[in-house]
Symmetry: C2
Amino acid sequence: MNDNALKANTAGITATLARFLVQSRYEDIPAPVRHEAARAVLNWLGCAIGAANHETIDCAWAALAPFAGAEQASLVGRRERTDVLHAAMINGISSHVLDFDDTHARTVHPSAPVLPAILALSEWKKLSGAQFVHAFVLGVDAECRIGISVFPEHYNVGWHITGTAGVFGAAAATGKLLGLNEQQMRWALGIAATQSSGLREMFGTMCKSFHPGHAARNGLIAALLASKNFTSSERAIEAPRGFGHVLSTKFDPTMITGDLGRRYELSSNMYKPYACGLVVHASIDGCVELRREHQMKPDDIERVELTVWPMVLELTGNKKPQTGLEGKFSVYHAAAVALLYGAALESEFSEAVVRDPRVTALRDRVTATADASVGKLEAHVKITLRNGTVLKHHVAHALGSLQRPMSDTDLENKFRGLVTGVLPPAQIEELIGLCWKVGELEDVGAIARAAVPR
Amino acid sequence: MNDNALKANTAGITATLARFLVQSRYEDIPAPVRHEAARAVLNWLGCAIGAANHETIDCAWAALAPFAGAEQASLVGRRERTDVLHAAMINGISSHVLDFDDTHARTVHPSAPVLPAILALSEWKKLSGAQFVHAFVLGVDAECRIGISVFPEHYNVGWHITGTAGVFGAAAATGKLLGLNEQQMRWALGIAATQSSGLREMFGTMCKSFHPGHAARNGLIAALLASKNFTSSERAIEAPRGFGHVLSTKFDPTMITGDLGRRYELSSNMYKPYACGLVVHASIDGCVELRREHQMKPDDIERVELTVWPMVLELTGNKKPQTGLEGKFSVYHAAAVALLYGAALESEFSEAVVRDPRVTALRDRVTATADASVGKLEAHVKITLRNGTVLKHHVAHALGSLQRPMSDTDLENKFRGLVTGVLPPAQIEELIGLCWKVGELEDVGAIARAAVPR
């Protein structure tokens, strides 16, 4: 153990974070943060269940099933059960397939690497909802703080931060559930650091979703190994050859240890109401709002004029989308479905809808103008009806932003939209109920089991 | 598949390497390279079996066994059987625990990430020795070429190249065994790239050995996913946000594609005769040689004078080692055991030997002088006997270097030294025999099964 003694350091960044994680008590977590945890669980489950039968998951499961262990944990939205490690990975991949999971205001998609790991472990070990919520809050804190400490330079060079920082979140959260002591938690963070990986080059392929699955499984392995005293560096985050310096040109460790236990990063979590890039959300919002207020029919509409942040047109300026994915990169299509259906969920970006003549007819009457004075999550929508009436709506902050969060009801509706067709209606409402009281469950595995179609 | 089409590139570095891997035939591999494969297998097996019951492996297996799948593959040197993925990981960790595995002259430890992955897969699928040797040669070629393309800058910044490049080797080799087509092989290399990880900060802890295990398992997962058409970038090595540019400040892609199929990197493989750092090897060599030639007894020796490369004293200048590990960092101890036992295997670096009065008495009579004109793998040894006789030996190239490779008999003896006590003598000789004819085996799993104590 001589080398370990040399590496031991109880005053560093890794050690300070490990101490906080180990010493934190559930009672320390403020009620609004606990409620945010329930919101995040509901949102995550919807995304994961909604994608559970996607081709990406079928491929991954076909590849890995021959090596699966005992049936310890559920695959959400599917009927197979598998070992904890594979459940963490497969559910982690499901989390991100739709690109519809949560986003921290300054860094990673927080839930995707953490929740799959702790749900699988908790189901197997029959842990309580309080333990689960506590571990989740801490895991998100660890991954977001580490992510912020290297953001944006680390991301700009090409790392997919949800993978690279997410593995720390999964290790911290599962380490908490396994009851690691401080030294073991330092080791767990170290074993996480040495597995940190994920390249942005993978964007646009199935591998993007692989990253949170990989992070969930690897973070869990880090905590499991540490629980058996598998040693690693105890300064893996801050050492000259540690995560911060090797994977980033900028590393600000005060972002990791500042206000520990006073500021919880889960409080800065955001949820997407629409199944496309954030920059389109304000335009959709304005259309949904005008439709609700005026109940006009598509044929009543002469033209729709959007005024948007200039990057909106660069990123989503496709006037004639042909596939579902292209539809997500068309602000014109997004506005049209918002006016036709009052929604922009995954189903509104199917190829059938993108090619539907009713949609294309309205889409062709939408124009968009760039305006540098308009913000990223802002839009002006102006609709001229055939009868000459002009309707206007200004969206200052898109729904889902920190300034205008989705309500609990919004999240429930998003959930229903995502899982309908996978779970029967009664089971959907049961699962929503379980999520809202997640912190009180005696056995949080009830949520995992209720996420499997009966 | 639109995004994949965008990322497809059949003229790039990744595509060229993938095409070579897929199109290569066993008949293309020159006989000396095939024989080198047998040597590497024998050397690797000795290291892995010798470490199989080390605390590191006990910890890792205790942590992961609850999640193991069907008994598809052997853990070498142990009695447990497990699924292919866990066997790849555990045997991968065993490979590197003793720091005694092979070394490519310009980059990684080649066998540790590749052989555990292909042995587990081959045992399960009952593949032939020819397939196994072919896949091994190709895997080593891929990982070494990718390693050289970023070496040494990538290593200097803090990456443990055996982990970061090793994952490509495991993916390439297992992808060959799975019969991937060119597109799938590009994906496999991409999925490998996005898992590339391992920090030098872990050196001195159990996590160093974790790296080849992690690489073996992850490379295998990359190939398995690709075999089910799980997509990734097809330019993952050379893209601006790919492996070469994100993980290194220097990237020379010609090192990957130059002389493909004409130069095999396995030909530049080196094996360590002694269980300590390479820089001590020349001094040990000289002592072993003088002992063999002159058969002197320890009490005959008045003093031993070494003249060495200056870094030898910086790295291994410990005059009073107390533990086995400290003994490995003492050129004085190494010279003493070489003169006393004619060997410097793991057993000569046990704590008992390091503290043995016969050893310490001789060690105290060893001196070492730095000389900038002496090379890294060179040493002058001068022994003055109590009767006044002076014996001298100059080691120009340490045994195990490319200039003076270990003979097949040397490798057999090293193997016997490592596995004695783990396997019974008859089984040891049987396994040596199997290794020399590995390329002719109908079912290469015979080697894996013979590596388990009966």
